[in-house]
């Protein structure tokens, strides 16, 4: 118990240290456009109270949610298909390897060119960032099934179907879940890039608008809030993952 509460204390101390530095840097000041932590925090509270932050997140959540849901269904399906079938692997592995390596910010204007500036483009931006990691993790989860488990199944005359259902899929589940979590992390990056590069909506709108009217505390509050939302949701998913799939 003391170990855990000690750990908590250290985590808290590091936050206090970080926010303290921020406060000092803002008061020095590093730049006229860099507000101290306290002012930023007050701006955040104000945006929460007047509802502008909540409204922005409702808008941002749509393309992010749709994108991740589509990736979750189709991406996992694709990854499993690639893991189980050499033909599917041969057809689609190169696409995902290229997608994983491609600089996304350079491709996003191309999306606008083809699909306009609406929801579709933003969903696609999320998918393009999130899909490769989701697909590749599912694929690797399937492929990395220990050969001795497969031999064990065969030695007891298990069928191919039993092999997939009772061994390959349960073994891949942990990595598939990790893929979803990393996909969500990429999705956060994708949605912010899309909202900044395509048309300012949601949280991207809050950032660009407040920057253009030089309301820097609000701009920083919006940036800090998206960082915090992403960090907290990923952390919670990681904890869920550790509970669902305890490691060896």
């Amino acid at each position: 118990m003391t170990g855990i509460s000690g750990q908590r204390a250290w985590q808290l101390a590091s936050f206090v240290f970080f926010f303290g530095l921020w406060e000092l840097a803002g008061r020095w000041p590093v730049s006229a456009a860099f507000p101290p932590f306290s002012t930023t925090f007050l701006a955040l509270v104000e945006m929460l109270r007047d509802g502008s932050l909540g409204k922005a997140y409702l808008i941002t959540a749509q393309p992010l949610g749709i994108g991740i849901a589509l990736c979750g269904a189709a991406g996992i399906g694709f990854g499993i298909g690639m893991g189980l079938s050499r033909t599917v692997e041969w057809l689609s592995l190169p696409i995902f390897i290229i997608l994983q390596a491609a600089p996304m910010a350079a491709i996003i204007p191309l999306l606008t060119y083809m699909y306009g500036i609406g929801l579709t483009s933003k969903v696609l931006a999320v998918i393009m960032l999130a899909a490769p990691v989701i697909v590749m993790n599912s694929y690797k989860g399937i492929r990395n099934t220990p050969p001795s488990l497969l031999q064990m199944c065969r030695s007891f005359q298990g069928t191919r179907r039993q092999e997939v259902v009772k061994i390959v899929l349960p073994h891949a589940a942990a990595l598939i879940f990790t893929g979803l979590r990393l996909g969500l992390a990429m999705g956060f990056i994708g949605i912010v890039i899309a909202e900044l590069l395509i048309t300012p909506t949601g949280i991207g709108d809050l950032i660009t608008y407040n920057s253009s009217v030089a309301d820097y505390p609000k701009m920083f509050a919006a940036i800090a809030s998206i960082v915090a939302v992403a960090a907290i949701s990923l952390h919670l998913l990681e904890r869920l993952e550790r509970r669902l799939f305890p490691r060896d």
């Binding site: 220990p146 005359q157 061994i167 349960p170 799939f245 305890p246």
Partner: protein, 252 residues
Amino acid sequence: MTDAIVEVKGVGKVYDNGVEALRDVNLAFPEGQLSTLLGPSGCGKTTLLKIIAGLIPHNAGEVWVKGKKVDGPGPERAFVFQDFALLPWADVLRNVAFGLELRGVPRPEREEVARKYIAEVGLKGFEHRPPNQLSGGMRQRVGLARALTVDADIILMDEPFSSVDEQTRRKFQEDLLDLLRHHQKTVIFVTHSIEEAAYLSDQIALLSPRPGTVSKIVRPAVDRSRSPDEIRRDRGYLDTVDDIWHILRQYV
């Protein structure tokens, strides 16, 4: 001498990368006895065992089990894996019952059988533990129990004690002999330990490496009615260990 339950005739194996693992292996395994495949690493003993199990294909020769030529796994053979091959997400009970689960035996029935063998290998009380909470020796007991539940005549064991510490290994060897005497199984056992082979076996096939082939068959003259400690001091046991070492030393 009893009849052979497994016969290997002229078996050869060349891997896809061109390595010849086995050449013209001829061996007969007597029913109800424990036979060992012994040799230095790389002599193809595990390959031979997996060919007998039907887990990997051979390029030449034939494998006969209970008077039938076989090309794949069958219900009369059960395999015990070097790395245990346990499902990490399943508890001991499900792992032990897994062979029966694959055969479609209903849950209450297969769990009853599994509980019986869990008790026999000395793991009573550990039914609901996951494998990662067990020691190496206990994990291999789970592997052995799983092989026993399907009631195969032939148990194939691939270096089952290689990742188990020495004390555990000795205890496990003694328990194994007890269990096998009790169940009348034919066992084919792969090891690189001369002492283990001499202590356990009725028949030892010495394999020479690259390509693996049978260089000699030794039948240790050890009186197995005596206690484990007496066997380990037995003249026949010690002579067997010596003889085997003199043959194998030319390969290493």
